[in-house]
């Protein structure tokens, strides 16, 4: 072994052949295509099942750890800081404060959206500081949204609720 290290300025070369999108669409290169079809169903688990079922009643539920005194949201069945089971379930309000927000022009596949959506991290009233969720904001002009804005959940009618996070249609500004 050990023929000795070469004195070269690095990287010595940039190997690899770049292709354009047209090379694929016009079949200029040899390639192979496959469309895997995988389907999944996720069980919601102990904490999330209760949370989702409470959404059907139009309520947000959190868990409480008596040791660190945190009201934890989204709820979990353990306190990850004290590493012990939670002590209680508590209802919290459906109002909150915008911590940060974005105006999105793209969908999950990076395709342009017809109408931009406002997405925000909202900390919920009644939970401990920084206990927030990501959700959509509507009924407001994008340029009027600000950090610290108070918002309220807009629920779907009870008959349309399915026990998913989208049972809250969006959050709207809370006047006054």
């Amino acid at each position: 072994m050990a023929v000795g290290k070469k004195e070269i300025s690095c990287p010595p070369s940039a190997e690899g052949t770049g292709l354009s999108d047209a090379d694929i669409s016009q079949k200029n290169v040899t390639y192979f295509e496959d469309h895997p079809n995988l389907a999944y169903s996720w069980t919601a688990g102990q904490a999330m099942s209760r949370f989702l079922n409470e959404l059907k009643n139009g309520k947000l539920i959190a868990t409480k750890c008596e040791k660190c005194r945190r009201v934890i949201f989204p709820p979990r069945i353990y306190c990850e800081l004290c590493y012990k089971p939670i002590d209680d379930w508590v209802y919290i309000k459906d109002t909150g404060v915008v911590q940060t927000f974005s105006i999105s022009f793209i969908d999950p596949d990076a395709k342009p959206l017809e109408k931009p959506v406002i997405v925000a991290v909202i900390t919920i009233d009644g939970a401990s500081p920084n206990m927030g969720i990501m959700h959509i904001i509507d009924e407001v002009e994008p340029e009027k949204v600000y950090i610290g804005m108070r918002v309220k959940a807009v629920w779907r009618p009870e008959s349309e609720r399915k026990g998913t996070i989208t049972d809250i249609k969006y959050w709207k500004p809370l006047e006054g």
Binding site: M1, S9, P12, A14, E15, P74, P108, A110, I147
Partner: protein, 400 residues
């Protein structure tokens, strides 16, 4: 940032670890070569620089991000031969984007523990397989119950984090755009770059909006590419070269995956990872003791965010340092002299080529046109990933 020096760190390494060779392929949006072929190119370059043969390699560490990009489960087995992993202990490490520095950290364990004297680290990414856009694979990292029904795009997290950072530190978008301008210009000197160019702050501010405040030119592009690194024990390094580069500290840390429960303005995971690495490398004042840095820069604000996390700037100070030219290649603290992910390209784990490999080349004075103006002794590189909550840090020095 002052970090207390703690004596008696619970870490007894068997031997020091030197880096003696590195290699990388071109980074491109789409490449003809398969992942195996790209890995082969990078490994050949690294072994060539080190003056070693594949037969000298005792163990191989592979880093590669989600299988969903390649559409091949158990990607490590698929890449085995190209990565030179046949007939020797071979293991894949994966922490999302953080892999770019985490795979070399794993290589460090292999040598520091005394299990191997020569360890090869290979990082490969082929994002272009995923159609029509790799973004489609990213949607499966969101929480299936809380986040996915809202039809999120991965950019959302960054946009939310960037807004929070700007709000708390009172930073303007034009100050952040300077990072994109600097890195894309630096990348003009990198032979592997695919999005290098001379742009202006106005170009960034007027580029297509993705998820405001994030615009097209705030973001690094998805890329194909591979990178490799040779790590050896001191007695091997001595036979090969008079001036190897030593790994003096490593650190990694994860924050909660409930990302909406964190205050996004400060990367605590990076600060904690850096604290671990600094303790190992006996660094007490990073701003003074570190000569060159490669923080992870998939977005322009992220370079600033991570500089603050690494203690290279006080909270809110990184944009000021950038504005004053401190972070330029001829500045007092060159940051991303390679051109980073914003300029060279962002093939998730293969970003090792512009992070760890670049700091190695800078400290070995082999970076060619990219070599920073000042004299360098100590460098740092850092990556970030998983659900935006892992920090991985490596400190290197050309003095043992």
């Amino acid at each position: 940032m002052e970090v207390e020096v703690i004596k008696g760190l619970k870490f007894h390494k068997k031997q020091d670890v030197a880096i003696v060779g590195a290699g990388m392929t071109a980074f491109k949006r789409r490449m003809l070569e398969t992942g195996k072929e790209l890995s082969y190119y990078a490994v050949k370059q690294a072994l060539e620089e080190a003056g070693l043969d594949i037969k000298d390699v005792e163990m191989v560490v592979l880093g590669s991000a989600p299988d969903a990009f390649d559409g091949i489960s158990l990607k490590e087995e698929y890449l085995l031969e190209g990565a030179g992993g046949c007939d020797r202990p071979y293991m894949r490490y994966f922490v999302g984007g953080g892999t770019a520095v985490f795979a070399p950290i794993a290589g460090y364990w292999h040598v520091a523990s005394g299990l191997a004297d020569v360890c090869l680290v290979v990082c490969e990414e082929k994002m272009s397989c995923c159609q029509p856009h790799p973004q489609s694979a990213f949607k499966y990292i969101w929480d299936p119950i809380l986040d996915r029904p809202l039809k999120p795009n991965l950019i959302w997290i960054f946009a939310l984090e960037m807004r929070r950072y700007m709000h708390v530190n009172n930073v303007k978008h034009e100050d952040i755009a300077l990072v994109s301008v600097k890195n894309k210009a630096n990348a003009l000197d990198h032979p592997c770059s695919h999005v290098a160019g001379k742009i202006t702050v106005e170009d960034v501010l007027n580029s297509e909006p993705m998820a405001l405040p994030v615009r097209r030119l705030d973001v690094s592009p998805p890329s194909d590419g591979a990178a490799a690194l040779v790590m050896v024990a001191p007695h091997i390094a001595r036979q090969l070269t008079d001036d190897p580069v030593w790994v003096t500290g490593v650190g990694w840390n994860l924050d909660t995956t409930h990302w909406t429960n964190r205050d996004l303005y400060f990367p605590r995971y990076t600060a904690e990872a850096a604290r671990m690495a600094y303790r190992m490398a006996h660094i007490t004042d990073p701003r003074k003791q570190i000569d060159v840095a490669e923080p992870y820069d998939p977005f322009d604000y992220k370079e600033l965010h991570h500089m603050e996390g690494l203690g290279l700037a006080k909270k809110g100070e990184a944009p000021i340092l950038t504005k004053e030219g401190v972070t330029a290649r001829d500045g007092d603290l060159p940051v991303c002299p390679s051109g980073g992910l914003l300029g060279v390209g962002n093939p998730i784990s293969a970003a090792m080529g512009v992070k760890v490999c670049e700091i190695y080349w800078q400290l070995a004075y082999r970076a060619g046109k990219r070599q920073v103006a000042k004299e360098v002794t100590t460098g740092i590189c850092q990556a970030w990933g998983d659900l935006m909550q892992i920090g991985t840090v490596m400190v290197m020095s050309n003095k043992r």
